[in-house]
Amino acid sequence: MFADFSRGDDCLFEINQKDQQPLPPPFDDIDEEPLFRRLTEEAKKKYVLLDDTIAVNIPKPETQEEEAQLVNSFLSGLRRLVSREDNWTFLEPLMISLEHCAKCQTCSEGCHIYEESGRHPYYRPSYRSEILRRIYFKYLKNSSTWVHGDIELNWKTVARLIELSYRCNLCRRCAQSCPIGVDNALLAREIRKVASQEMGIVPKELHDSGSMLQLKVGSSTGMNAIVARDNVEFIDEDTTDRTGIAVETPWDKEGADILLIHNAGEIMAWPENPGGFALLFSAAGLSWTMSSDLAAYDGINYGVWYDDFQFARTALLHLEAARKLKVKKIVIGECGHAHKALSVIADKVVTGDLNIPRESGINVLRDIVREGRVKFDKSRNDFPVTLHDPCNLVRLMGIVSPQREIIEAIVPKERFREMEPHGVENYCCGGGSGFAIMSGHNFAHWRHHVSGRRKLRQVLEAFQGEVMDMEHPKYVCAPCSNCKGQLRDIIAYYDAWERAGIYYGGLVELMVNAMVDAQPGYIDWEWH
């Protein structure tokens, strides 16, 4: 199977829906599922093919020079990847994972993409790692293929490997199960890094219209500061109307205790979330502000998925805004990757007065509940609720109990049901590592049929025993913008609102819905 990877022009394999496990009721008839849309013939002619979908859009080289360029630049990037200077950020975890895999395939059992694809061998977490490992040992270390295995390195190997690195959500569930500690998700990220930092090859949603747009305009949504402030002002008005409590988001307030940074996608797609934060923070009497500095009103940091420098540039803008406002801490809204990027990853790239404390917004919300600063009536949330654990927040940061403590205070105990597994053993929503914003060609279909299928399965399992129709609404609480985007798409794709009454939203929406002083009905149960 390793030899095939370097040969042929067609897709190496296709997703066959008949190979997939049926979902729980009422979606248990696999023949009634939407059909996986195949790639167009035009796309097949133009781009490098791996598996009947495309994420990266690498054009097929037209000349031998272009072919050689792909191979040479990849090797050059690989050399930098294993260098102490160029990749100090990840060298040790990288080398441990490159050198110590026992090829036992334990990781596969932890991977939702492998499992839900119908256990396709090319989606084993170890497969792309093993290709990288073989290239490294054969072409960089000149080691014997007898020891490390053989691989032919040509432009197809390189291009397919880059494409394959975007068939991993970087959720690191595979690393959790590895008996040795090998991290295949990290290796997927490091392949993406070579492609980006050396070859300039990245899905446009992540780079051109993602991190580059954020660094240039201020937000990957395209909103500049003026538009962001206008939109938040509108949200404040709307929140005031809906709750009967006057809300006004403070901007650029020097000396505030808290700089609150949302994922700006919330402002555009889920305005009730920043509205809810503003309401709760104000009602609790917190000293807080938002910033209109470049990128400081958008907590996203796509670099964390593919490029150390794009990551660092964005994180530095966030921290610089906090320094300028002289706040005591940065609080991050409901966005998993923004949490991990700024709280954990950035921890080792900032020093001195830029090293401003960062904290999860969920902790702050938990304290509001714990200290009784806002009164809640859990009977207002008298509907089935399940909780999605965003990988970045939970498995990769260990923030597990605050959100549960909040839910305990705002949802009747008998109405809450955990997904199985949950907490640090959760499954990714399927939109992780940028997938939720990637929909080129038929990639959205792949997301819905493969990477997001396990989450839908978990949601349906959590609500089994309930009446599955729209008259009996159920709430999937997902305290992460990216996860909400993916859940929105899956629910729409499988028609899960109409067919099973499954709705989704964040944590603050659920809190405001139960807030005694607010008018009831903050969650409107309208499918948009």
Binding site: F2, S76, R80, E85, D86, W88, F90, L91, E92, P93, I96, E99, H100, A102, K103, C104, Q105, T106, E109, G110, P121, S126, E130, T145, W146, H148, A175, I180, G181, V182, D183, S196, E198, G200, H207, M212, K216, F309, Q310, A312, R313, V344, I345, D347, V349, N355, P357, E359, N363, R366, D367, V394, R395, M397, G398, I399, V400, S401, P402, V424
Partner: protein, 313 residues
């Protein structure tokens, strides 16, 4: 010729120790890396039971951080002895891998007991009391270790040759390594069959005793041929293990302590902050146009330059 096994054993042990030391130093000398922890983190005290971290605390930077060594030990010991992660996530392989690894531990323990027995200066035939217990331990650990090791290695080899998911990923060396274990354990067990278990381990203990006493000037070990062959093969294997990916017993320590469980925050004014400042001064040579590293600009230069400000080289 009689002392050949003795010198092989000395050389094998020395090669093993040197390789392990060099490999450990290689990992110790790795540059600082960004945080990449994975929960549960065992030293998190009570929170470790559900995978929680100190980041659940409000304003955690103002509070003392709980660090439970006992928590780490409680996870590490069962993981090392019983391969808990493999048992939980890949039971089929665990049935083979556990006896293999546990067999190695028993063989190692038996060898240590041999050294202890020799240092006590007791005679094998007349050992009584604690020495008698050691003698029994040597026989039980050694025999059980070889049997388990052989069963495990043969099981792993069989599975690697027959299960498609393992076969497709295996290089010739992966099969060779397991075959070597099968061969080495088989020769040792043949010696036990030929000489009898007591005589085999008595001879082996005599030889190990000579190695332990080497600093004191003794090198007169003579052992039966089959024991000598076992010792030579075991010694070659011992020297070979750290040169292969089987050195994962070293890498695993760093995978856990330096990566998975490394949640130490970078606090202002800390030693770690100084190390980070040095790392940020590293030159950057990545070529993509949004980075344009030239081997002179350092990490901070690149990270603080917006892509739009980069001029084409």
């Amino acid at each position: 010729m009689e002392t050949v096994p003795f010198w092989f054993a000395c050389a094998g042990l020395l090669a093993f120790l040197v390789s392990v030391t060099l490999r450990t130093m290689m990992w110790l000398r790795m540059p600082i890396h960004v945080r990449w922890e994975l929960y549960p983190v065992a030293h998190e005290g009570k929170r470790a039971s559900y995978g929680g971290s100190y980041l659940e605390e409000s304003e955690w930077w103002k509070k003392p951080r709980e660090f439970s060594i006992w928590g780490e030990i409680r996870v590490m010991v069962p993981e090392i002895l019983f391969l808990v992660a493999l048992r939980e996530h890949n039971r089929k392989l665990w049935y083979r891998s556990f006896p293999f690894h546990f067999g190695l531990y028993l063989i190692t323990a038996g060898t240590v007991l041999m050294g202890g027995f020799a240092l006590m200066g007791s005679q094998w035939e007349s050992a009584e009391g604690f020495a008698g217990v050691l003698r029994m331990g040597i026989i039980v650990f050694g025999l059980a270790g070889l049997v388990l090791g052989l069963l495990g290695a043969a099981g792993l080899l069989h599975r690697r040759m027959t299960a498609p998911e393992l076969k497709d990923f295996s290089a010739p060396a992966d099969l060779f390594n397991l075959a070597v274990f099968v061969a080495v354990f088989s020769v040792a067990l043949s010696g036990i069959v030929l000489l009898g278990v007591v005589e085999f381990f008595a001879s082996l203990t005599g030889l190990i005793g000579q190695i332990v006493k080497l600093p004191f000037g003794h090198a007169e070990a003579q052992v039966p041929g089959i024991v000598g062959l076992s010792v030579v093969l075991m010694s070659l294997l011992l020297a070979y293990i750290p040169l292969t990916h089987m050195s994962h017993f070293i890498g695993k320590y760093f995978a856990y302590h330096s990566v998975r469980w490394n949640d130490a925050p970078n606090l202002k004014g800390s030693k770690q902050e100084k190390v980070i400042q040095e790392a940020l001064g590293q030159p950057v040579s990545w070529s993509a146009s949004h980075i344009a590293g030239d081997g002179k600009k350092n990490w901070v230069d690149v990270a603080t330059t917006m892509p739009g400000e980069i001029k084409d080289r």
